[in-house]
Symmetry: C2
Subunit: 188 residues, 2 copies
């Protein structure tokens, strides 16, 4: 047991205190990004430098969260803004995805943030829009103070392997299923 | 389909717009209360009156969240504070639990809050410290503007039945398992 933390997490020192952790929120249920938003607020409350990169527009976050984040000094990047979602334009969307990940990689490597949230990153990997291995390598080799929270459905195994904490949010029941429309303040 | 929202949720009008919803975050994974905390911030950002009742001390929330909440004008009640966790004192703890639930029921019925978070309420029901049926009835008969977020493991079926949205957070992997200690700013 004694050496496990070091093997599992390069940021953990011998006493088992991780200098930073990688959290993955995956699954088909609601709450993955909402939970990341809660961690964002916690980080801000601790005086951390926090950055949020949203790789897909129209997730659980919306302009409200962005507004709150920016009021609190969080750096916010809407990387998914320019997606065309058009199969004729797939190269354009892939290029945007790559640009978004490149920015994330640069922010991680710079080591200036105690918390970086990579919202809905899993899709870019799962759709093959960005290469998976450079993502895992950027996470493994990150500066030791950089905590990461990564959200999105179907987190690939390689991402689970580099994560310290993985939660799967399963949908048991959702108001949408019974015809109730999204509720401002709760769902977005 | 047309009448389902009305049957499922007494707060939904005929067009399917719910005046309020009941969200349950259950399961053994991390993120149930963190997600509730995210919803709390959203509610505050919308100018809602928000109350948080914590039924068990030492969940995922801590003094940091309480401090942020109170700065934002959230009413905060630590109902689990006086628990002895001593089998010789079970009646004392049960009485405290009942008092906590009574306060929750009064707040719900008063209809002065757009959002009330009942953190770790499920345990009180599961341990038999409070009666289940009055809880479900208080939820069903709440004033139409009162949104509820309820967290805790093993949400009982009766609670799932009165909920609009249920997410189960499953633990896939947790840093604690590999010997990494809780990380300030992420876990608490």
């Amino acid at each position: 047991m004694a050496t496990e933390p070091i093997e599992e997490n390069p940021a953990a020192d011998k006493s088992g205190f991780a200098k930073s952790v990688v959290v993955v929120n995956t699954g088909d249920g609601k709450g993955k990004s909402t939970s990341a938003f809660g961690v964002m607020i916690r980080g801000v409350a601790r005086g951390w430098n926090v950055a949020v990169l949203q790789f897909i527009k129209s997730g659980e976050w919306n302009v409200g969260e962005e507004k709150i984040g920016e009021q609190l000094g969080v750096e916010w990047f809407n990387e998914g803004e320019g997606f065309t979602w058009d199969s004729d334009n797939i190269d354009h969307d892939k290029a945007l995805a790559q640009r978004g990940w490149d920015r994330a990689a640069a922010l991680i490597a710079a080591g200036e943030h105690e918390l970086i949230i990579l919202d809905e990153l899993t899709y870019l990997i799962n759709w093959g829009w960005i290469e998976a291995e450079p993502v895992y390598e950027a996470i493994r080799s990150r500066p030791e103070k950089v905590n990461l929270v990564i959200t999105g459905r179907d987190a690939p195994q390689g991402l689970l392997d580099v994560a310290d904490t993985v939660s799967e949010v399963r949908k048991i029941k959702h108001a949408f299923d019974s015809g109730i429309l999204a509720k401002k303040g709760i769902d977005y």
